[in-house]
Each structure stands twice: as C-alpha cells, then as structure tokens.
Point group: D3
C-alpha cells in the first residue's frame, strides 16, 4: 500500500508568473494568499539573506532514509525547488554537499527539508541555499521506498508538485499552482500599498491614523491617561 | 476587567544614567543586579553584534494581535526600547518592516518581543535591532484591546514603563528604574575588576589562584591524581 | 560517593594523528566512525565557519556551577579541546570571556559545553570558538565539587580524556583515542571517493547511476509514471 | 483566496469496513498501512484506555479561532470523528465542554485536535474522548472563516473528509478512504500472525529464532562473547 | 540589590469571596477575567481530578535552590496556595514529600511550582495536589536568598501575595485580589448562561443558531456546498 | 569500527543488595548517591505508581532500529531491567506488546527506553512497566548491528551492564554496581532521618528550625517585615 510512484512530468507555473512572484517576500506572499501556505517556523535558512522562488519537485521519504531524494534530483529542471518530506518525524541529515553539488549541476535553486541537513560549511561556500528543520551530521540509509512528485506534507503544509515555493529569511511559503496568478496580483496590490505606507511612516505618521485604528481603540474601551 | 489603559507619560531614568548603563553588556548588568532581571534565553537577537540600552515603553497585546503595538509606537521618544508582551503564549509575527520603519522614524532604538517578528531581511537591511522569541511570517489581527505603559511580563520578567532595558548577543536584561543608579555603580566596580582579571588571565595566571579556589577544592574533597 | 578526582596527566593521540584527523569535517568523521560519537544536534557553534580538532580535557560539574571548569583549564595543553559536562540538566552560562581569555592563553583551541555560554560578543571578537547548547547570561556558582579528566556524558555521548574531538558547523563528534587511527584511514578513503563523486555530480551524473540505486528502486516496487 | 467551503455531504467508508477496522489498534493499523498515516506523537489522549474508529469530518480554522468547529459539528453523523486543524501553529483551547456536549448529542465519537482542549475534567466526567496537542484554558475567537470537509493537514498528516481515523493510547492514525479495505485485510493478517507470536513468546521462545534474526546478526558481524 | 524581603502579613480576599470563586473552574475564571491571568500550559497537575482555590503566598527563589520555600511555608495559613517561582529558568525538584508534609500540617491546600517536584508517588498517596512544570528527582540547595510575599512572575503571569489562585486539570489561573469580586460576578453570569447552553446542546441544538453564527459565516464568505 | 559485541554473562549486584536498594525511591537513591546517576526527566513512566529495581542489561541500537533489543532480551535473567539506548536521537516505538510479552516470560521486571514505546494499552493491561521518552506507534527496522551489555549512554547517564537501576514515578536513577552497597547504606541513613523529620513536620514544626536555616537567612540578609 506504500505510495511508491515517481511522476516524471509535472506542470509548472509559467516562467512569467514565477518571475513576478519572485519579486515578493514570504511575508507578503503569505498575506496575499489569505494567510495560507506558511510552513512551520522551525524551518530555517542555512544561508541568511537569500530569497528564492520556484516550482516544487516533491520527494517523500521514509524517516531516516533519503533514497527518494536521489530519485527526485534527476527529475528536476533548472529553477526548481526540491521539497523533501518524510513519512514520520525525522531529524537526520538527509542532504549534504554531494547531493547539493548534483542539485546545482541540474539548476535546482534551493531545497526545503522537513528534517536535517549536513555539510553546511560546504553549502555556504558553494552558496547553495537550503531551508531545514535541523543541522546535523547524522546520516541516512538509502534502502526505503517512497515517492516523487506526489502531494506531500512538509512542515505542516501540503505541497504539490508544481506548486510555487517562496523562501527567504522569514521562512517558506507554498502557493498552489492554480492560485499563483491571483497571489501575484494580490501581492502587487499589497506591495504598492506598502510602498506608500513606508513613506508615510518614515515621514513620521502614525499607523493609528493611517489605518484608522483610533476608533477601534475607542470602541474597545481603551482609555488614554496622562 | 481587561486592563486597557494607555499611559501617555512615563518617568524615564536620566539620560546620564542610561548613558552610563549603556557601557555594560547584558552579562555584566545581570551580575551587577544580583542576577535579577534576565529575560528567558529563548529571546534572541535578529541582528548579531548589536548592543542597545534605553527606557522601556511597554505594550500588552492579546495573543495573535498587535493593535497595542501601534498604540505604543506613537508614545515612544527617541532612545526608547519598545517591549512587546502578550497576555497568552504566542509565536505570531507581531512586528514587520512597516512598524519598524515607523519606530525608527520616532527614534526607537530597539524592540524586544515575547513573540515573533517578520520581514527580518528588511530589518537587517535597515539595521533596526529586534530581539524576539521567533521569526515567522505569520501575521496578526488588529482587533483586540490591551494596554500601553503598564507593567508587563515579558519572557519571564516583569518590565515596567521606564525600566532600563539592556540587550546584546547574550540576551536581554531589565533593570527597575529605581535600581539603575545602583546597578551602574556595581557594574562599574565589576568591570574594573574584570579588566584586571582579563590581563592576569591573558598573562597566564590561573583562576584557581586569582579567585582563591584551591582551598574550596580542598574543602570539597577534590583529590588530584597523576 | 561523588566522583571528585582531578587527573593531571592524560594520554593524548599523537600530534600526527590529530593533524590528519583535522583534515576532515564532522560529517565525514561521523561516517568514517560507523556513525558513532555524534553529540546531540542541540550543541551549536557560537562562531560560524570554524573547524577544530583536538584531544579532550573533560570537566564534570554540578548543574549551575562551574568550579571544575576552573580546575580543568589549568590542566589543558596547547591544542586541547575543553569538554564541559554537568551531572544534571543545565542551561546556565558556564563560561564567559574571562574563562575564554584564560583558555586562549593556555592554547586551548575550543570549548564544547553541554550547557550555556555568555559574553558571546566578546568571544566572537577574540575569535575563540565555542559549541554549546544555549547562549545565556545566567551565571553559575563556584561552590560544588566535581571531576576533571574522567569520562563524562556530553550531549548524549561519552567523552573520555584524550578522546579526539572534531567540531564544525555541522556539530561535534568524538572519537575514542584508540579508534583515531582507524577513523583517519576510513575518513581518507571516504574523502577520496567523495572527491571523485563530486566531480561526477558536478558534471551532471545522477547518484542513481553512480550508487547503483536504480535496481534498489525496482526491487522496492517504485514505479515511474509520465 | 481563503479556502472557505463547507461541504455538507461526504462519502464515508461502509459501516462494515469501519467495524472491521475498529478491531485493530493504532500500531497495527499503522504497520498494516505500510507505516503511513501516523499523526505526530505530540497528539495525546485526554482519556486513557480508549480506542475509537470512525470517518473523519474535517474542520480547518484560523489559529486561535474555532468558528469552523461550530460549523463542522452540525454536519457530523453518529460515529464520526471530528478532526480539527488550523492554518498556522496554535495551542489554544479550541474545544471545551459545551462543544463536546453538542458533539455527543450528535453521536460524534471523538475529536482529534491539532491544538489545545479545555474543560478536561468535564470531558473525563462525560467520558468524551479527545486527542490533542495541548491542554489549556486559553479561549478562542469565533470571527475567522475557514472550511469544513476539505482535506486538511493535522499533526503532519493529510486528513480528507471520510478518511478513517483510528485513535488509542498510542496516538492517532488516518487511513485514506480508498485504502481502508486493504488495510483491514493487512491488519487481519498481521494480527493473526501476532496472536501466534504472542503465544510463542509467552512460552519462552526468542524472537531471534521466531524472526530468523540470528543470521542477520551474523551477517552484520555481531560477535557473541562470554 | 537582591530582593530579600519576607513579608509576614498579607491581605487575603475574604473567605466568602474565595468560597464563591472556588465554585468555578480555571477555564470559566479565565474567561470571566477577560482572558487574563492564565499561567503557561506547561504547568500541569500531578494529581488529576482536583480543583483548588485559595490566596497566594509567594516564594521567590534562586534557580536550583529552595531556601525561600522553607521560609514561605511557615507563613502560610490554612487554605493558602503556595506559589513558588525562581529568578531564572529551572527544572529542579524544588519540593518533595517532606515539604508537602509540612505544608499539609499548616493547612496549605496546594502548591504551584514554576519548576519541578519530586516524591510524586508520596504526594499522590497523601493526596496533596501540586501543579508544576516538571517531575524530577533532581534536588536543590538551601543556600541562596530570595523573598516571600513579594510579587513574582510564575509561568508567565505576575502573582502577588493574596491574589486568588484557582487550579484544576486545565491548568492554573491567578486573579488579582482587587478583581476577585468582579470575577466571581462575571463567572456566575457565565456559568448561568452555560447551564442553559449545555441543555440546549444536549437537546440537539446547534451552536451556529444558539450563538447567531450563521450570519458571521455569511459575512465571511463561507459557502455551503453539497 | 561499529561496537558490535554481545556479552552473554555479566556480573550483577547480589540479590541481597538489590533487595535492600529496592526499598528506596528514586529521589532518595539519587540523593544517597551524591546526586549522581539521574536520567533526564524526559524519561517518564507509562504505568503510574510502580517502583522497580534490578540490574541493567544494556542494549545499544541504531536510531530507528531495534535488532539489538531482540538480542538483549534472551540474555536477561529474572529480575533484570532492560535498558535500551540508541546511537543517535530517536523517537521510534522500539518496543511493543510482543517484545514485552517475551520480556515478561523471561522475568524481566521493566524496560527503560531512551526512545519511544508502543502498544501501551496492552502494556498497561499486562502490567508491564516501561519508562520511555515518548509514546508512539512508529515502528522500527530490524536491520542494523549494535551491542548488548556494553556501557551505553541512556538519557544523559552512562549505564553499564549490571549497574543497578531504580525507577518510579519520579524517573529513573542508575547506580554503578560497585557503588550499590554504599548507596544502600547512605539511603538507609537518609531514610531513617526522614522518618523522624516527617513526624516533626506532621506535628507542625518548621524546617527553618529543624534544619537550622534561620541563621542562613540572617547571614544572607533576608529581612522580615510585617
């Protein structure tokens, strides 16, 4: 009954849409998406200061085994984000410098791992960005079946093959392929509004005025005292 | 019965006292204060290598809501540290680049948040220092009442408005306004002693001799073997 | 019944062996050692990008007390790694800039602490590398007995005096003194193989081919679909 | 873009299949399912010694809000298990005695909550079983949209409406509706085998013999010494 | 500068008020108090099925030391709840059967400990209820100063001497002495309402109707599908 | 280099010594042993209200694999406590009802597991006591080598074959075989003293008097106020 399919071909959002989405950070995308799709905050970047955006290739593994990561890497195309999940809780180092070397050679732009990563000094040197739950040298086996490009649960969110993944210092958010265009539009609107807000705040205005929050405070019975 | 006061004016320690206090790190202040006032170690800096010191403006919020942060920002003066607490456990991103832009425009020197923060790439770019329990894009509502400039519990310590907050890479410590002068004196004495100790240790002396610990070892029955 | 021995002289692996071992990272050593000796992943470096290797001097302390760290420092020789354990769970700042100044004066190359550390800004400035479970200003007493250079449990692994400790961004691994030569040989073989693999992966080969994993997938019933 | 559908009618596995499945515990079902479907071990029972089995009605809520639990309860039929998820991390008390009273009146047999529960003394008194991540009196709002009977992620596993949920003292496992028949068959085979094993072990046989593990030990180089 | 006062006499709420308050559980009191005063959910009961209510006598201790618990016990009166806090994070067994024997002899009805407890088998046998963060045999010293009957931070909430403490299987809530009368009134009103609700729910009504939530769902755009 | 010895015969403390030791609880033994040997408090009993005492048979396993538990069980004698460790962090269910049936048939009195356990309803029914870090249905493989009756690290403490293990509701403590006689003597003395103390406390005396703590308070500058 084990889910052991490897799906070779997946539909990815258009390069244009992804390029547009890549202009927004995780917090903006998360808001634009109705506060959906945010992976658990335990998923942290190994490299600070990086932002990536790409379609997900998903890899589902037994806990403590990375066989299906090997199977997934060769199905990736340039620009993809490899999303690695396990069927049970795990904090093994599922990926190291060898897999990242291979990934980079195929144009994979990042990995998101609901488990651990190792060789992080090498990864920092090669500038290959990984978001993971843990850093640990603990190795895996390569003995258990699993799946590639099926929907997986990664850090509390469902990620389907071809879903758009955005990751930066705030964490990782996933947008269902069908929703990317809407999210891009909403993010653009939000960003446009925030550019103005940023100017007003930098000029000294209060968000109580800008957001009409003073009546809210009143209604809630908040009293000002000197 | 909700505590929903916003207190506009608070007493701050004198600029002179704060300037003196700002010369000492968190570990020194904590020791000088009789090992009091240290916030829980889960509160970590978003920006490494920064030390700040200033009077607290306190903001008490419902978990998952940041309305009273907005109310607090406009009451801050240049040099203040905004201390953000919640009435229940929370790991939302209570503050992001917009609130920090507004904060910087008002001269706030740092925020200490017993919850999460987002837009940390922006915060690093603008060099605005935040200490928080988590980094997460998860947004808040702006719908619940709370209080500003009342005593709050932040990460295990009571922080009153006008208390002095010191934060650096070791964490955050708060000193009651009435105790700042005493703490400055004790920190100065401690620091003076440590300057000498640092020299003696750098020159090769042992802390067993410098601190007269050999008799302690003896008394405790510690035996030396070859 | 308290273990309160301080053993002055310990056997260290030869400088040659340690020099050879120092050429390998934690992940490689851990693999070469049959996946033994890895400390719990909660032990993280305060300074990123450093790798150290040296014989362990061990210090066993009461929780919340660092008296036996002081006793251990003076017994260290240049090149040693000071390994600090406690008899119960602890998250105190067992070591700060004064102990590290003293340690550096004696040529200690690093500390590994199954508890907390403080003054980390100073440690970063002096470039003294520490791996620890926590960063906290919370101080200790210097009042309780303990031991130096006895076998200790540090973050889930037994560390004996003179065992080889390797630490880098991936964490910390300990190799029993008697096993160092074998580990060096195994690590060299592994590294040689990995150099070749790295080239093949950089050139675009798949680890499914390189590691003969396609038959494994077959045997496990993994089906490829388009 | 918020997912805000409430699906009234769902397909449930047949009563016969569920009755058969209910004969097996979580560990057996999990094994029979190829080690799939197990919720994170943080989900613990409030009442010890209970086993339940039923089709899932799913409720997706904003973190800290239980509006969609209210919407879900009235759509449940006798025998259902109400599975409560949130779109972000949460440890609020999403359910208390009032909701459980309502649930019992509708024949709901249990709730599984990826968040907190309260009024547990009342729940124990009424004998209504709940599995949850936390116990806490912290209340929720009833102000945010969400969905009922859409696939949700609950404690690391996808749960679809009508999927079979089995819960006992070992935790909670979910079986996709389409797989229930196969899992029942596999569980029956496994259980039959275990009945025999239990007898053999009770009679003093060793699992090394029963499972033919001695050659495995041999092959792995395990040496016996006296 | 250490806070080292022991305050012998404190004002307690009237026995009548406390008797009234004791009729309500933690969840009800927490709601009646505007969702204030709830201690962190890590504080769990050692004995299930107990509810206590009484005025707080507070004890502030150094982490890993219980000297001020001894000082606090003798100041307690029958009916008091002893609330034990530490100045830093701690998971020591601060209290065991000897202190609980002493406490019971003085009529203390419960202890709430922001740290650990030991001898829990004895405590269960003597039926003495304790709420704590941990269970551990790890002992403390009796060497460090502290305070009795000063305001303390316990598990994230400020507790003042004479504040009312209510504890049950849901956790612990504290009500400032001045607010007890108001909380009793609000709890009574809430409870009265809940008695009716419980009947209506038991009779099969939906909380969507009882709470007028259908228009809320409408307004939020929640769509019903078949 | 993997440690893959299985040692058939071990020295156990005499039955008389163990019988004497079994008269004391974990907290008393821990104190009598100079506060040594206490396993991490995350190790909790599955069955409340049980106390066991016996010599350790140790089993060292790969994380997620229980092959060496099977090898260890058949080497146990009546009265033994099976102590199960892993070479890396693990929360798998290493043991279930089949292994416990086998264990009980051989007279094993308890298991202590630095990982997870499953089938806990069965274990409760058969009354077989287990102390573990987690409860989870997640199964293991039986494919990896390891060792039996070598010294292991279990939950932060070294446990050697034949060491005495005491476990109760407070946790688990291990006493080196060579120290059992001394610990028994110290525990007896401690217990004798505590019997008297318990009477004095029950009669209303204060521990400040009984332990001569008033001068300590004085010396520490603790001031009494009315």
């Amino acid at each position: 009954m084990t889910d052991s399919r490897v799906v070779r071909n997946i539909r990815r959002p258009s390069a244009e849409l992804l390029a547009e989405l890549s202009g927004y950070g995780v917090a903006t995308v998360h808001e634009a998406y109705g506060r959906r799709g945010l992976l658990a905050p335990e998923i942290r970047p190994v490299l600070a200061g990086r932002r990536v955006c790409g379609p997900a290739v998903t890899s589902l593994n037994a806990a403590g085994d990375n066989l299906m990561v090997h199977a997934a890497v060769e199905l990736c195309r340039p620009g993809d984000v490899l999303v690695i999940a396990t069927t049970g809780p795990s904090a093994h180092g599922m990926v190291g410098d060898l897999l990242c070397t291979q990934a980079r050679a195929r144009g994979i732009v990042a990995m998101v791992i609901d488990s651990g990563v190792r060789d992080v000094a090498d990864l920092r040197e090669m500038g290959f960005p990984v978001w993971s739950r843990a850093i640990t040298a603990q190795g895996t086996t390569k003995e258990h079946g699993g799946a590639v490009n099926v929907p997986v649960v990664c850090a509390g969110q469902t990620v389907g093959p071809g879903d758009a993944v955005v990751a930066d210092d705030d964490g990782v958010v996933v947008v269902a392929a069908a929703d990317v265009a809407d999210v891009v539009a909403a993010a653009a609107a939000r960003e446009a509004r925030e550019v103005l807000l940023r100017k007003r705040y930098a000029a000294g205005e209060s968000s109580l005025d800008v957001n009409s929050l003073r009546p809210v405070l009143d209604r809630l019975g908040v009293r000002y005292l000197d």
